[in-house]
């Protein structure tokens, strides 16, 4: 199952990347491409909507870390929204939940961003 990533921009100029599928070794390149495209267009605030992500592996997680570095490198920031239980378990297991603030919904992630 390939990862599908839809990009939209909010009225406040925040980019929301809505990903659907498995964010794994096969799906990670699609997220990297979407983040690179957003960064190239000068977007500094990015939310990854993870509601449609059914499963994440360490390579998928690596693509999120790569995204964070890329966006913070241009003085921006990244937030994760609506991760399912499996994604939360992986974030906690790797202690990356200390690095990535994650929010229950996209609306919560957009608030005050």
């Amino acid at each position: 199952m390939a990862l599908d990533v839809q990009t939209r921009q909010t009225d406040g100029g925040i980019i929301v990347l809505a990903a659907t599928g498995r964010l794994d070794v096969a799906g990670a390149p699609a997220l990297k491409d979407a983040v690179s495209e957003a960064a190239k267009n000068g977007s500094s605030r990015v939310v990854i909507d993870m509601e449609g992500i059914s499963f994440v592996d360490s390579t998928g997680l690596g693509s999120v870390i790569s995204a964070l570095k890329q966006i913070r490198g241009s003085q921006g920031d990244l937030r994760l929204a609506a991760p399912n239980q499996q994604v939360r378990v992986v974030l906690e297991l790797t202690t990356l939940d200390r690095v990535f603030p994650y929010y229950a919904t996209v609306e919560e992630a957009l608030t005050g961003f």
Binding site: M1, A2, R22, D24, V25, A26, F55, D57, S58, T59, L61, G62, S63, I65, S66, K69, Q85, Q86, V89, V90, L93, T94, T95, L96, R98, V99
Partner: protein, 138 residues
């Protein structure tokens, strides 16, 4: 099927996408057979570990330029799930004890994650093949 009835799934695959799909499908079939939900934590942790070892095997488990298949078996019996994966890649002994890397690292978490999610992660070199064994009590 109750959790005391045995379950077995066998497959052989070559391609990355195909292999990952088979691994997740096999766990979904076990989940259905056991009457457990997608949020069942022990099975979810096992599937996460299986995804890590499976993607390593599918990415590195064949000599360059060849199309050697990966053999996969998933079994459940007596409350214990066990997966075995056999590949023809190079030996991986030197990677087995790898610890969880620093937060900024984009790679190298897979084996450390699998070790901590399973009751047992076995590996042995058997002639020209790598044999992986993943065990978890559900």
């Amino acid at each position: 099927m109750g959790s005391k009835q045995p379950f077995e799934f066998r497959a052989r695959f070559i391609e990355l996408d195909e292999g990952l799909e088979v691994l997740h499908t096999s766990v979904e079939r076990l989940r259905q057979a056991m009457g457990r939900t997608v949020d069942d934590r022990p099975l979810m942790l096992f599937e996460t570990a299986l995804g890590e070892i499976g993607s390593n095997v599918l990415t590195h488990g064949r000599p360059p330029g060849t199309e050697m298949p990966v053999d996969y078996v998933l079994r459940f019996e007596g409350g214990v799930v066990e997966a075995s994966l056999t590949d023809s890649g190079a030996p991986v002994h030197e990677h087995l004890k790898r610890e969880m890397p620093a937060h900024e690292s984009e790679r190298g978490r897979g084996l450390a994650m699998a070790r901590s999610l399973l009751d047992e992660l076995g590996y042995r070199r058997d002639g020209d093949v790598n044999r992986w064994r993943l065990v978890k009590r559900l």
